[in-house]
């Protein structure tokens, strides 16, 4: 998992990435300088919970992607079945291009998770 995250972090504009379960457990983490694991995990868990709860209000269940754009950076969450892939990026990157890289990483993570479960 860590290798996948490391490879993902090579993409221009990505500052760090981690895998967090819905209840806030960190599965793997490769965060860059200045990013605290606990803070990112807390934000991710809060976003997952709030968004799921908010979506229930309009009779919808779950989400597969969340992109938060803030003044100084972006945070993307992608559903990877076993957990959510959390990616912290620069504010100025072209997010649409980076999403493809994230989805590719998620596919690799899902594949590895299935192999581990079979074993």
């Amino acid at each position: 998992m860590r290798d996948t995250l490391k490879n993902l972090n090579q993409v221009v504009g990505i500052n760090g990435s981690m895998l967090v379960t819905r209840d806030g457990m960190v599965v793997a983490s490769e965060l860059g300088e200045g990013l605290e694991e606990e803070a990112v995990a807390a934000l991710a868990t809060s976003v997952i919970r709030t968004t799921t709860r908010a979506l229930r209000k309009i009779n919808e269940e779950g989400f597969s992607l969340f992109i938060l754009t803030a003044s100084f950076g972006r945070l993307a969450l992608v559903d990877a079945e076993i957990a959510y892939l959390v990616v912290v990026t620069e504010r100025t990157i072209n997010i649409d291009a980076t999403i493809l890289e994230m989805q590719s990483a998620v596919r690799r993570i899902r594949k590895k998770a299935r192999i581990t479960l079979k074993d």
Binding site: L43, T51, E61, S71, G73, D96
Partner: protein, 445 residues
């Protein structure tokens, strides 16, 4: 014919070289200013509209619906045809009317860049031909002048990679970070500024600019002991400096607590955050009492906003769109006919997503919430924050719809929210008074 050699131009090596150089310069200029580099990149039209016709069309559009979008389109037209003075005047006037317009700010940056084009070119050439710390510092200063702090910091980082012992670049980074800290109060900026200043002083403790800025920084955050230490060092190399002596006296007078500077910086940010929260509580309290705070409140026209949302629905294929007031109430809404979606529930969901995410983003030093995009089996939900208002829409999963939705939301924000008339409380009160006066004689009669 070449005028110098007298041979046909296509045979003359010098003419060819000159032509290639001119072409290269043009390409460089176009890529710098964001204009198309060749004719092939221009959109092909069957009937080309002349610049004058286009100008008339855009002027009419601006007069018909004055707003930052139409104004920016006209200014952009002037820029495209190199009428810089007109564009500058228009953008300046526009920024006075709509100071929050992002489009106009970008155009202002572009005009400034055009004005400083030659200087940018010179600074860039100096870095390529004769790289030195001053060249990087000059380029960073130019970026700072046009308001592009991120690019200025990037230039400094590139300079430091080549000249890791350059005091001037460290000082530049510190100045840039301090100016950003003064604007945004992000503790990380101040901490990095401090590290850069300390590095600059450690490299050259006789550098007056770095030493005085470091002392001022210490004083500003209340680290008196560190300031005294830095000022005493400075006075060794500049014993007759009155400003440093005055500061030293002040620092000695302060003799307050001297905690680690990083803690003090965080303390300031924490206090500011508390002040913001306290301000928000006061605002909410006033809202509850029916008295709204501030003189810069805008009153949006709910009918006009709902009307603006309806074509956006048709264009983007969205199921519903809502606009929320800063106090969380529903300001305007629109939904497809026959769609069972509850707009009030969408408004509630939007508010919940925004409030929670914004809180954590601030805690993580990511800054305040600007927008959120959620994708799921239902399609896309887009939430945009504009000066306290929230615009939200739910659309199908098609990427083209999402892109259109982003644009439409921006347009609604610029045309309905940011241009809404400012509420003048004094005038409102005066308007209310005559009603009361006229009511009294009636009662008496």
């Amino acid at each position: 014919m070449c005028q110098e050699t007298g041979v046909p131009a296509f045979l003359c090596q010098e003419s060819n070289d000159r032509r290639l150089e001119l072409q290269e310069r043009r390409t460089l200029r176009c890529s710098f200013l964001g204009e198309p580099t060749s004719m092939s990149e221009k959109p092909r039209r069957k009937r080309p509209i002349t610049p004058r016709k286009m100008e008339r069309k855009l002027t009419r559009a601006y007069k018909k619906a004055p707003g930052p979008s139409s104004l920016a389109a006209l200014a952009e037209h002037y820029l495209r045809y190199q009428k810089f003075d007109r564009a500058r005047k228009l953008v300046e006037e526009g920024l006075l009317k709509y100071p929050e317009s992002h489009k106009l700010r970008l155009l202002e940056q572009r005009i400034k860049r055009t004005d400083l084009y030659e200087e940018f070119l010179k600074a860039g050439q100096e870095i390529t031909e004769n790289p030195n710390p001053d060249a990087y510092a000059n380029l960073a200063a130019l970026y700072r002048t046009v308001g592009d702090i991120d690019k200025a910091l990037e230039t400094c980082a590139a300079g430091l990679a080549k000249f890791p012992n350059s005091v001037r670049i460290y000082l530049n980074v510190a100045e840039l970070r301090i100016s950003r800290y003064a604007r945004d109060y992000m503790p990380r900026d101040a901490v990095i500024a401090l590290a850069n200043l300390e590095k600059a002083v450690s490299l050259d403790d006789t550098d007056y600019a770095a030493a005085i800025l470091l002392s001022e920084f210490y004083m500003a955050v209340g680290a008196a002991e560190s300031a005294i230490h830095a000022l005493k060092k400075l006075l060794v190399s500049h014993p007759e400096d009155e400003h440093a002596q005055e500061m030293l006296d002040k620092a000695l007078e302060m003799s307050r607590r001297d905690e680690p500077v990083e803690d003090l910086v965080r303390d300031i940010s924490q206090k500011r955050r508390m002040a913001v929260e306290a301000g928000l509580l006061c605002y909410l309290e006033k809202c509850v009492r029916g008295v709204q705070d501030g003189k810069v409140r805008r009153r949006i026209d709910a009918e006009k906003t709902s009307k603006a949302l309806t074509p956006a629905l048709e264009d983007t294929g969205a199921r519903a769109m809502v606009v929320l007031n800063p106090d969380g109430s529903l300001a305007a809404e629109a939904r497809q006919e026959g769609d069972p979606i509850n707009t009030e529930a969408l408004a509630l969901a939007t508010r919940e997503i925004h409030d929670n995410t914004n809180d954590y983003a601030l805690r993580m030093d990511l800054g305040s919430f600007e927008s959120g995009e959620i994708e799921g089996p239902f399609g896309h939900i887009l939430v945009n924050s504009v000066e306290g208002w929230l615009i939200s829409g739910i659309t199908s999963a098609r990427p083209s719809n999402r892109e259109r939705m982003r644009k439409r939301m921006q347009e609604v924000a610029e045309d309905c929210l940011l241009t809404a008339p400012v509420i003048d409380e004094a005038q409102e009160e005066e308007e209310e008074k005559p009603d009361a006066d006229t009511a009294q004689p009636d009662q008496g009669a």
